[in-house]
């Protein structure tokens, strides 16, 4: 971890000096996560790519204002999240709650007789059917293993709100997958 932080600091210095290799390092390191977070919010691959591109440009343009008190990752994710929500607001296409009836307490491993790759595919499909805010907190919490505090720093939402969103998101994710399983 320390080594990784040192590498990042080194490339951050390059970035601040306008060195192209610094830009390339951060694009390579964060492009997949930028896309994943963006698609959790905008639900469309093409729009998510545009959002990621705009987020990188904005971040690089504003890099001198990054005070290095927080991690680059937190600062950059906040830019992606803001950019993606701005795009979503523009298109006015957030997911309506199709899966409001999510009464399920069944453990997924017991109920679904499918392999890990299929589960992964179903999870990614389910993300596209979830409201943007719920999909985002699930991804940040489980994929990036961010704490509630860090999720709060990235999204700007209160910790209490994030806990509520996480609770709803878990239930909704299970409900969506259960319903999809019925259709298979």
């Amino acid at each position: 971890m320390a080594n990784s932080n040192e590498t990042e600091s080194l490339h951050l210095r390059k970035l601040l000096n306008g060195d192209e290799s610094g830009f390339r390092y951060f694009i390579k390191a964060y492009q997949d996560m930028a896309f994943t977070l963006a698609v959790s919010i905008v639900k469309d691959d093409f729009v998510a790519q545009e959002v990621s591109q705009d987020a990188f440009i904005k971040a690089f343009r504003a890099i001198k204002s990054f005070n290095q008190q927080s991690a680059f990752k937190t600062w950059f994710y906040r830019i992606i999240v803001n950019e993606a929500f701005a795009r979503l607001k523009k298109s006015k296409k957030d997911i309506l709650l199709f899966y409001d009836e999510y009464e399920t307490d069944v453990a997924l491993e017991d109920s679904l007789d499918i392999n890990d790759n299929e589960k992964l595919e179903m999870v990614n499909e389910a993300f596209k059917l979830m409201p943007a805010n719920e999909g985002l907190v699930l991804r940040l919490f489980y994929l990036e293993e961010e704490s509630i505090k860090e999720v709060s720093a990235i999204t700007g939402w209160t910790k209490a709100n994030i806990k509520v969103l996480l609770h709803r998101a878990r239930k909704r994710m299970l409900a969506i997958i259960q319903q999809k399983k019925i259709r298979i």
């Binding site: 192209e20 830009f23 390339r24 694009i27 390579k28 492009q31 997949d32 996560m33 930028a34 896309f35 994943t36 698609v39 691959d45 790519q49 990621s52 591109q53 990188f56 440009i57 690089f60 343009r61 453990a107 997924l108 491993e109 890990d116 589960k119 992964l120 999870v123 990614n124 993300f127 699930l138 991804r139 919490f141 489980y142 994929l143 293993e145 704490s147 509630i148 878990r170 994710m173 299970l174 997958i177």
Partner: protein, 115 residues
């Protein structure tokens, strides 16, 4: 992370592996190209700013010279002040036209780049 923060969730481990790959393999180059284009555009805007300032100064000085100074000059090489003024004004107007055309072209080119 406390137990309250992270209760057991069957899908947590699967979500932990749900990172997607950027579909466009050329993404890195696209961002770099866009950054370079933006930097170029920024430079162009600075130059065009200077050009506009110098153009305005040129027009103001040309106007002052032709209206205030030339009329008070003694004849030069057999040319009366009126004729000198006419020659100066023709050169002055042609210069303004050339510079204005250049600025318009430059401005249009940059506008195209923005879109």
């Amino acid at each position: 992370m406390s137990e309250i923060d992270k209760p057991r969730f069957e899908l947590g481990e699967i979500i932990g592996r749900s990172k997607l790959s950027m579909p466009d393999h050329n993404f890195e180059q696209l961002v770099i190209t866009r950054l370079k284009e933006e930097a170029e555009l920024k430079r162009s805007r600075r130059y065009i700013g200077f050009s506009v300032v110098f153009f305005a100064l040129f027009v103001a000085l040309g106007y002052i010279v032709s209206t205030r100074f030339i009329a008070n000059l003694p004849p030069v090489a057999g040319l009366s002040p009126q004729r000198l003024k006419l020659i100066f004004q023709v050169i002055f107007i042609l210069s303004i036209l050339f510079r204005a055309e250049y600025l318009i072209k430059y401005y249009r080119h940059n506008k195209l780049d923005i879109s």
